[in-house]
Symmetry: C2
Subunit: 167 residues, 2 copies
DNA sequence: CTAGAAACGACAACTAAGGTGTCATTCTAA
DNA sequence: TTAGAATGACACCTTAGTTGTCGTTTCTAG
């Protein structure tokens, strides 16, 4: 394939590893993308999630892990817009899964917090996720999986940095 | 957090690795999802892609790697519907990036093939991807990256199998 | 060689997800 | 105190993708 010839010409004295590594990263990115779509499809079939980007699970997860946050704070750490998170927060509040509590730092921008019901729902979803996860990766070693997650996270951060640099 | 207590109770004699591994896989899945969104955001900013699921890049990549295929064949290996791929094929054909050639096995279902222009475009996009990839993962080792890609692929396959089992 | 089943192309809604824009209010910092 | 940034609220719109249908074509089994 012609595309394999792009980049440094291997007939020169340039380090071939530069290309090999770039290719490996590109492959990993494509693999991640494909994996995501399959995860999403599975999530939809199991009813675990409806969407991932502006999805409720990630939103609730942020609150469960980090405690009460303002809507803009949540939006900053999620791959979507402030308005989207605002709407999601309102929807979850309407379902009684989250509540707005006073923010000592800001009178208008309330803190969003999981209600008891919301925490229970999150635990339930998380348990479902665990149930699914426990049936997968049978051939894999836990240490390898953790290392994989760490590397994906690192790639993720790299992508984010480069993405933000483009403004 | 309460959610970390789901699954096997560690105070019993059950193997704690089962839970640890499931948790690791769940974490990996979430990491993959987040990474995907960041990759997509980067792709949009660079103009490299418009979408990934029914996107043109993956479509053309399939053709570049595997040679001429019918629309249903492409749809089977991509995370989207036959109709979507049909429409995409038509759009790409309108742009002169792919062409329909006679299929010896099937008179009506033509084979889709990259045109010279399409191949050039794909190479160009691939070069862009490589350019981006070459600036990332500086701290990572190529072997680790390849292993990571392999494990993600394995997870991806596991997810696919489980997803298909649910019909 | 046929009849029924499946695959295919084409087309048309329909939905979901999220982006974008705006405006009034509130906070922050010079 | 005042200019500028952050926030909540609301409305509109674009895009991606699904779903459904229909007529035709191809495959398969008897």
């Amino acid at each position: 394939m012609a595309s394999a010839r792009h980049g440094t010409d291997r007939t020169t004295g340039a380090d071939p590893n530069v290309d090999g590594k770039a290719e490996a990263i590109a492959e990993l990115m494509l693999e991640v993308a494909q994996c995501f779509f399959r995860i999403r499809a599975l999530g939809q079939k199991t009813g675990l999630i409806t969407s991932w980007g502006g999805g409720a699970f990630g939103f609730m997860r942020s609150l469960a892990l980090l405690g009460p946050l303002t809507v803009p704070q949540i939006a900053q750490m999620r791959p979507t817009s402030r308005q989207r998170m605002q709407r999601l927060a309102d929807e979850l509040a309407a379902e009684g899964l989250v509540e707005f509590i006073d923010n000592p730092k800001h009178r208008r921008s309330k803190l969003v917090q999981l209600t008891r019901k919301g925490a229970a729902r999150y635990d339930e979803l998380n348990a479902q996720l665990m149930a699914i996860a426990s049936t997968m990766g049978v051939a894999l070693d836990e240490a390898d999986i953790r290392k994989t997650a760490a590397i994906v996270r690192q790639l993720s951060d790299d992508v984010k940095v480069r993405s933000e640099r483009l403004g």
